[in-house]
Each structure stands twice: as structure tokens, then as C-alpha cells.
């Protein structure tokens, strides 16, 4: 009975994820994304995720390096596609999402750059979980100590432009052809071809 009550309690307090998307091209697979600002226990979560002891498993992403919700979705689509084919490059689906965000094929460096920044005490973190059930959603929301943001529209405002341009090697000429978000989307979507 205590467990039932605590579950109900969690459900009452829990906020909906900022983004819930079911993949059109991979029917039956979904992703939930949460945006948290000023997360105090980000380092602890990151350490647990590295050990593999984070339950439920989530992808932890530095929210200042993601220009758009769509970029995160393109990366998630890549991760799910690789998972469906059984061709994950990293050890888990959620690590694959963080890896997919990067422009480089170096796994350790990409996970380090796009994961939670080291030594940061109040980070902006994007958390993503694939195929989450209600209990898992509540558990994810329970384990973060930070301010939950209801939508991903504010990602562009808190974006670290200089870091993104340096990481993805975006030149000013490219920004004449399209927006920064488009340039990042191209690099995520076509990474294996470049």
C-alpha cells in the first residue's frame, strides 16, 4: 500500500516531459525529453550514468549545446534506427543518443563533450529516455534536483553559440545559407557520410 501511495504521490507532483515524440519511421518507439535548469546533482547523476547504475537509464545532455528540439530529435532518430538494426556503436541506446549529437566519430570525446560538463555545479541538462513508461517518467523526474522547464523553445536562448560553432566547426559562410540549427541538423543527420 505504501508503494501505491508513493506512486500516486509521484504522479501528482510529476510534470509532463517537455517533449514526447513517437517516431513516425520506427513505429512503437517513443522518446521523452525533459529540460532542467540549475541542476544541483548533475555531477552525481553523470557519475552514476557512467557506471551504468542509473535507473531508469537516461541520456544526460548539456542543454547549452543543443540549438533546437529538432536537432535532439534527429539524433534520437539516428540512435533508434541503429538500435533497431542492432548496430549500436556505444554500449547502450541512451549513450548512443549523446554520441549521435556529435559531429565527430570519436566516441569517448563525443560523450565527454555533449554530456554533462565537468565541474559544473548548476548545469542546464537535457534528459531523454526512450520508450518510457509512467513509472519511469516519474522516477526520472524524481531523481533530478533542478527547475523543470515545460517546453524546449527556450533552448535557443540559452545556447552557447561560440561553443557550438567551435564543436561543429561552423563557419560564418554556412550561416548565410541557413540557420545554426539547420547546420547542426545537417551534421547530425549526415555524419556517417561526411
Amino acid at each position: 500500500r505504501t508503494r501505491l501511495l508513493s506512486r500516486l504521490f509521484c504522479r501528482v507532483l510529476a510534470m509532463a516531459p517537455a517533449l514526447h515524440h513517437s517516431f513516425e519511421c520506427h513505429p512503437g518507439r517513443t522518446v521523452d525529453v525533459w529540460l532542467y535548469r540549475g541542476v544541483a546533482n548533475a555531477q552525481a547523476l553523470a557519475a552514476k550514468a557512467k557506471d551504468g547504475s542509473l535507473t531508469p537509464e537516461v541520456a544526460l545532455i548539456n542543454a547549452r549545446l543543443v540549438p533546437d528540439a529538432f536537432c535532439a530529435l534527429v539524433a534520437a532518430n539516428r540512435a533508434v534506427g541503429a538500435h533497431q538494426r542492432g548496430k549500436l556503436t556505444t554500449r547502450s541506446l541512451h549513450a548512443e543518443l549523446v554520441y549521435a549529437l556529435a559531429a565527430s566519430k570519436h566516441i569517448r570525446e563525443s560523450l565527454r563533450r555533449f554530456g554533462v560538463p565537468e565541474g559544473c555545479s548548476e548545469c542546464d541538462v537535457l534528459m531523454a529516455r526512450f520508450d518510457a513508461t509512467d513509472e519511469e517518467r516519474a522516477a526520472v523526474e524524481g531523481m533530478v534536483q533542478g527547475e523543470a522547464i515545460g517546453s524546449l523553445d527556450s533552448l535557443a536562448q540559452s545556447l552557447d553559440d561560440a561553443a557550438v560553432k567551435k564543436l561543429y566547426k561552423i563557419q560564418p559562410k554556412e550561416l548565410e545559407a541557413g540557420s545554426l540549427a539547420d547546420a547542426v541538423t545537417c551534421r547530425i543527420g549526415a555524419r556517417d557520410s561526411l
Binding site: E24, C25, V74, R78, E174, G178, G189, A190
Partner: protein
């Protein structure tokens, strides 16, 4: 040229029911002596009108397209089918599926298709880096040889130029801009046409200055974007990296032939493009010199070997 059409004339055999227009392939006989239509053997085919086509199309869709509701075939070329997806990760997208060509050796076919697919994705990204507007690449599916790219709302430059013929000579100033036309507000007038041709020249100059040769420059491979009237280049399947002025000159020659063939009513169209190219390109001198040579002798006659 279809084998079966030939055989019908010569041997009195039944002709391919779909009159498909792919390259010559040997006819296939099933036990019982019935000739299979070329399309049934899975080679690239023209979409035949009528209900059976829909069922056949459905099973030839790549799995990514099949699971999206409301996906429709926009057009089919010699190499690929273009599907319109109303919702791909929440946005309108295009899926370009390169189909298998069974008349080729399977190993060669896979290699060529993969090379073209990867080359197209790379070309799209590189053109963007050079400042030329292209559709954003959303995903590259090597297993299904399918490319998912941004849906750009607009008209091809070909359609634009053809429509500009219908514009009244004394068009009012309001219908002047390319963007306005692409939005459906009236017919483009001479100034809009000149603006579009100039933009085409500038885009080609930007590509060539970055050593990217498009390979298939025609007015059907350039779009006038509805939102801002910019030229968006598509179809980089034959694109390559080359700093040779010969390759760039051949690219311009292909464009000249395409423009003069598709738009004989605009005899000055290519001159406008070339003038804009010259103004915008930093390496126009060797390229245009070579272009004069190519014009005189034709392409693929470099006489080096």
C-alpha cells in the same frame, strides 16, 4: 529502349504491357512461356496509371516511408523515387529512395548506389558550407539507399521561367518579386526573372569557387524558395570535388545546353547567368576560357590520354 518492344516487332512476341522505358534487359520467361513485364522484375519503372500501381508502390516503399501516414510519391526519375512525407520528426520531409537496378551486376550496383547516396549527402552539406542554400539532411539510410531531407516549399526555376512567359508585358510592380510569385501571387515579370537568373549564376559561382562541381546543372534542379525567393540547389547525386577548370567548364556547358533546350523562348537566359557567374566568381578567368573551348568541341573530348 525496351527489349520486348523490339522483339514484338521482330518475332511477334507479346510486348511488355507497361512499356517501361528503362535500358535494354533480357526478357524473362517463366515456365509456361509467359513473358514477365519488365516492371514485375523490380527494375525501375514508370508509375503506371490506375489502382494496381498503388499496391505495387506500397510494397516498393522503403520501411521508413511505409510507416509514415500520408506518404505520397512526388515523382520518379531514372535513379530514384521521391516521396513526400507530411510528418518526419514533426516536419515535412522528402525521402529520396534510390532503387535497385537489376540489369547491373549486384556488387557493382550496390557500390554505385552507395557512392551516389553518400556523395549526395556530402554534396548537400558541402554546398551549404559554401553559402549555397540546400535542403538540410535529416537522415541517410544506407541499408535502404534512402536520403531524408528537408521539404523546401517553392517552384523549380524551370517552372518559374516557363510561367514568366505568361506574364503580361506591362506587369504591375506588385508582382515583381520572385518570392511573391513563388507564393502564388501573380506571374513573374522580367525583373523577377532577371533576379532569379542572377541568383542562379551566383549560386553556381559559389559552388565552383569551393571546388564543388554539381554534375547535373539543369533548371529542374534549382528551386525558388517560397519563403524568401532564394535559389535552393538540389540533386547532388552526381556532384564531385574538383579544382580543374575543365570540370567546371563542363558543368557550365551542361547548364547552357539544359537552359537552351528547356527555355528556347528565353535566348538571353544563359547570358544573364553567365554574367552573374563572372561577377560573383573569383576564378572565372580560367573557367570561362576553358568553357569557350568546351563550347567549341563538346564535352568529354579533352583529348588527353
Amino acid at each position: 529502349f525496351c527489349w520486348l518492344a523490339f522483339l514484338d516487332n521482330v518475332a511477334g512476341w507479346p510486348v511488355c504491357p507497361r512499356r517501361c522505358a528503362h535500358r535494354a534487359a533480357p526478357p524473362h520467361l517463366v515456365p509456361g512461356g509467359r513473358l514477365l513485364a519488365c516492371s514485375q522484375r523490380g527494375a525501375g519503372r514508370m508509375p503506371a496509371p490506375g489502382a494496381p500501381a498503388a499496391a505495387a508502390e506500397a510494397c516498393e516503399q522503403p520501411p521508413g516511408v511505409r510507416s509514415v501516414e500520408g506518404a505520397s510519391l512526388l515523382c520518379q526519375g531514372a535513379e530514384a523515387r521521391v516521396w513526400s512525407l507530411p510528418a518526419y520528426l514533426g516536419r515535412r520531409a522528402i525521402a529520396k529512395q534510390r532503387f535497385v537496378k537489376r540489369y547491373r551486376l549486384p556488387a557493382l550496383d550496390t557500390k554505385l548506389t552507395q557512392r551516389r547516396l553518400v556523395g549526395e549527402a556530402r554534396g548537400l552539406c558541402k554546398a551549404r558550407k559554401l553559402g549555397v542554400a540546400t535542403p538540410a539532411v535529416y537522415a541517410v539510410d544506407t541499408q535502404e539507399a534512402t536520403l531524408y531531407i528537408e521539404f523546401v516549399a517553392g517552384v523549380t526555376v524551370k517552372a518559374f521561367l516557363q510561367r514568366s512567359l505568361e506574364a503580361a508585358p506591362a506587369a504591375d510592380a506588385g508582382a515583381g518579386s520572385a518570392a511573391a510569385y513563388a507564393n502564388g501571387a501573380g506571374l513573374p515579370d522580367a525583373s523577377a526573372r532577371a533576379g532569379v537568373l542572377k541568383a542562379v549564376g551566383e549560386a553556381v559561382a559559389a559552388l565552383h569557387d569551393g571546388d564543388l562541381v554539381h554534375g547535373d546543372l539543369t533548371t529542374s534542379n534549382m528551386l525558388v524558395r517560397q519563403a524568401d525567393g532564394r535559389i535552393v540547389m538540389i540533386d547532388f547525386g552526381l556532384a564531385s570535388n574538383s579544382s580543374l577548370s575543365e570540370d567546371k567548364a563542363v558543368d557550365l556547358y551542361v547548364l547552357e545546353r539544359a537552359v537552351s533546350a528547356a527555355h528556347p523562348e528565353h535566348p538571353d537566359a544563359f547570358e544573364t547567368i553567365l554574367a552573374a557567374y563572372k561577377a560573383a566568381s573569383k576564378q572565372w578567368c580560367p573557367t570561362l576560357n576553358r568553357f569557350a573551348d568546351v563550347r567549341a568541341r563538346g564535352r568529354k573530348r579533352a583529348m588527353i590520354g
